[in-house]
């Protein structure tokens, strides 16, 4: 496969970014890998140099509101924060949207059919509920349809109060196990509904999802099951004709020990008396138990680092750009997200 991901020159000649054409970044990952955190960090990273970015969530979790410490988001685009500043200190704006299928359906109906009273009747007869929960795939079309609308929205003409247009949209998508179905469901529905507006809508959304303007990024941690799932996910996306983006390796353990130190610790070759005298020099109240404990802890760490390295090698065989983000001991708050965003920018993801 040709290296589609050759780095391109960005607005700053000394910076290259990997996804200059992409306007829709879909972020997926196995549960527990921190996919929502990565989606938020990516939105912050893309929102620099005055660019507008929309961060969407579709799973009803209100994770964005929690991460940015705001009130629960309505079905309405809200500016939530400034993005990560570029070299010149210029940031952009991050907006957020919580997409729920019921609101998306009502909006869709209002937009295309001018359904006023009938909309209410639909609700009374359980049609809204049917379409958004039971009818196969319709829910997903509604969700991706709204994202499509935000990506393809025509540029504002400059008069009146119009909807904002975005330079990029980041979608915090369902987990890897369901991502192909979620995105590809449009073709499934299009197959079920052979004619009609749902079919037309599904076809349009599918065309965007399969285009060079979309990239599906996968978040993983360096453990066997998530890495396996990432690899399965990439294969599935490719066979569904969906554009695979990069892999974000999240929650990487601290690299406090270099390769040779790590090997020494792992193989029990560190001289405890040297460590003891170092500690004494650093004014630590030292005894033998402390030295043994520190070395034991470091050995636990070295064992895990080896396992991580094996998994990292596996990720590398996928032949897609890889970005790494550290595990932050303090957890995720706004400051941490900005830190992660800067790391993604430095690695060229944005």
């Amino acid at each position: 496969m040709p290296p589609r991901y050759a780095r391109h020159v960005s607005a700053h000649p000394d910076r290259t970014v990997d996804w200059p054409q992409v306007r829709l970044h879909v972020v997926t990952g196995k549960g527990g890998t921190g996919k929502s955190t990565v989606a938020a960090a990516l939105a912050l990273a893309l929102a620099s140099s005055g660019r507008n970015v929309l961060l969407c969530e579709v799973e009803g979790r209100q994770g964005i509101a929690r991460m940015f410490d705001t009130d629960p988001l309505p079905y309405e685009e809200r500016r939530i924060t400034k993005g990560a500043p570029d070299q010149d200190g210029r940031a952009g704006q991050v907006h957020a949207l919580h997409i729920d299928p019921e609101s998306a359906l009502l909006e869709y109906l209002a937009m295309y059919y001018k359904l006023g009273r009938a909309g209410k009747a639909l609700d009374r007869f359980g049609v809204i509920d049917f379409a958004t929960t039971v009818a196969p795939g319709v829910r997903d079309v509604l969700l991706t349809g709204k994202v499509y609308e935000a990506v393809q929205r025509p540029r504002a003409s400059g008069r009146g109060r119009e909807a904002i247009t975005y330079d990029a949209v980041v979608l915090d998508a369902p987990p890897t196990g369901r991502i192909s179905q979620f995105l590809g469901v449009n073709s499934e529905v299009a197959g079920l509904a052979k004619v009609g507006p749902i079919k037309t809508q599904a076809d349009k959304v599918m065309a965007l999802l399969r285009s060079a303007h979309t990239a599906v990024h996968l978040v993983t941690i360096l453990e066997e099951m998530p890495v396996q799932e990432t690899s399965d996910g990439i294969a599935e996306l490719r066979s569904a004709g969906l554009p695979v983006g990069g892999v974000v390796v999240n929650l990487v353990r601290p690299q406090a020990l270099g390769a040779s130190a790590l090997a020494q610790v792992h193989d029990d070759e560190v001289d405890p008396t040297a460590v003891a005298s170092d500690l004494k020099r650093a004014q630590v109240d030292v005894d033998q138990a402390l030295v043994t404990s520190l070395l034991d802890e470091a050995r636990d760490h070295a064992v895990r680092r080896r396992l991580e390295d094996e998994q990292r090698d596996l990720v590398a065989t996928e032949g897609v750009p890889i970005y790494e983000l550290p595990r932050l001991a303090g957890g995720i708050d706004h400051g941490a997200l900005v830190e992660l965003a800067q790391l993604l920018r430095r690695q060229g993801m944005a």
């Binding site: 007869f125 196969p136 052979k194 650093a282 004014q283 520190l294």
Partner: protein, 383 residues
């Protein structure tokens, strides 16, 4: 905070739960990626090796775990797991859920062969049975009901352990049966069925607005598929609702125990808290909380701050000091353990009545019986 020892939250006594012959069903639930499948398998194995006749119903096990349990093929039939210690007189079977097959079986079991064929071939049914977001949840509960009925009649099993699907939200599987059956029972169905039946007695002006709007949204052909489907399914509606109600009652029964699984992360514990509240509201029997993947505690009580200060001192003289690296790793470990501890305490503070057990993170993924056994031991040996 650590100076005064407060009485901790109650501890979940895993062995007492597994040994109690009154426990007939254990449902493991929680958000995705917290190790639900592994926890269910570990509990099932421990129960079997303590003398119970166990079947574990898994939804989507990791490949190597499935292989080691001998359930890599999706055939909806429980198969004996080899390598289980039979000394205590127990046994362990495992199966992986095939949701479409289970749905097909429900239809085949309820309808005449002719009608069943008509339903199974309907495009809408095919899509519904393989992709409806709630089908997996519904079928997991359906399969649980089946296994339980079989267990009662022929005594093959005295304990069923169920893993729940990786839902959008952990609550989905409680709601799915109700949602599907209320759809199949509801006004919309009657409305859809009405034109196909002929008599236009229901066709008021309001209804025609609704059907025409539905036709517009879904397209006429899909609407016809739906109509054919619900007409064919019409006679089964009652039984679908009955089944959903029975399953719900089974989940509320004394023989059932819910184990909420979480990881020591804010999202997973928040989801666990929702789940606990929901179970309480619905009078579901909650056994307790299992917190998986807990970071191993530090081996010395040197504080994170002291370790960082010392590391900085050493780095000032030698930027690549190995001892500084050791101190930094220690500080990181202490901080993570403190954070996890804090998250668990916060959960306990808002749910003081919920017993919990903590399983330490394993160095690598679990994909054999030995690993499952280690988790079982770690869960049972709480101090």
């Amino acid at each position: 905070m650590t100076a005064r020892r407060r009485p901790g939250p109650p501890v979940l006594d895993v062995d007492a739960l597994l040994d109690d012959r009154g426990t007939e069903i254990i449902v493991c639930c929680g958000s995705g990626g917290v190790g639900k499948t592994t926890t269910s398998a570990a509990l099932a194995l421990r129960a079997a090796e303590r003398g119970r006749k166990v079947v574990v119903l898994t939804i989507d096990p990791a490949r190597r775990l499935a292989q080691s349990m001998g359930i890599e093929q999706l055939d909806n039939t429980p198969r004996p797991v080899t390598g289980v210690d039979p000394a205590a007189g127990g046994s362990l079977d495992a199966m992986m859920l095939d949701m479409k097959r289970t749905f097909d079986e429900v239809v085949e079991g309820q309808a005449s062969p002719e009608k069943a064929k008509q339903i199974l071939e309907n495009p809408f049914y095919i899509a519904l049975s393989s992709s409806f977001a709630g089908t997996q949840e519904y079928m997991a509960m359906e399969k649980l009901g089946q296994l339980h009925r079989e267990a009662l009649t022929d005594g093959t099993y005295d304990l069923i352990v169920v893993d729940t699907p990786p839902s959008r939200s952990a609550l989905d599987f409680l709601d799915a049966p109700e949602r599907l059956s209320s759809f199949l029972d509801g006004r919309l169905i009657r409305l859809l069925v009405a034109p196909a039946r002929g008599p236009a007695r229901l066709m008021t002006a309001g209804l025609s607005v609704v059907t025409s709007a539905l036709g517009k949204i879904l397209g006429g052909q899909m609407l016809r598929d739906v109509q054919t489907f619900v007409t064919a399914l019409d006679t089964l509606f009652g039984s679908f609702r009955q089944r959903a109600e029975k399953t719900f009652a089974l989940l509320q029964a004394d023989g059932t125990a819910f184990v909420v699984v979480a990881a020591p992360e804010p999202d997973a514990l928040r989801e666990a808290a929702y789940f606990v509240d929901r179970l309480t509201d619905d009078d579901m029997p909650l056994a307790g909380l299992v917190v998986n993947r807990a970071s191993p505690p530090a081996r010395t009580d040197l504080s994170a701050e002291a370790a960082i200060t010392a590391a900085e001192r050493l780095r000032a003289g030698d930027s690549s000091s190995l001892t500084a690296g050791l101190l930094q790793l220690h500080a990181d470990r202490v901080r993570i353990v403190e954070r996890e501890q804090h998250l668990r305490e916060r959960f306990a503070a808002s749910h003081p009545q919920v017993p919990s057990a903590v399983a330490a993170a394993m160095a690598s993924d679990v994909h054999d019986l030995e690993g499952l056994r280690a988790i079982g031991t770690s869960l049972a040996e709480q101090r």
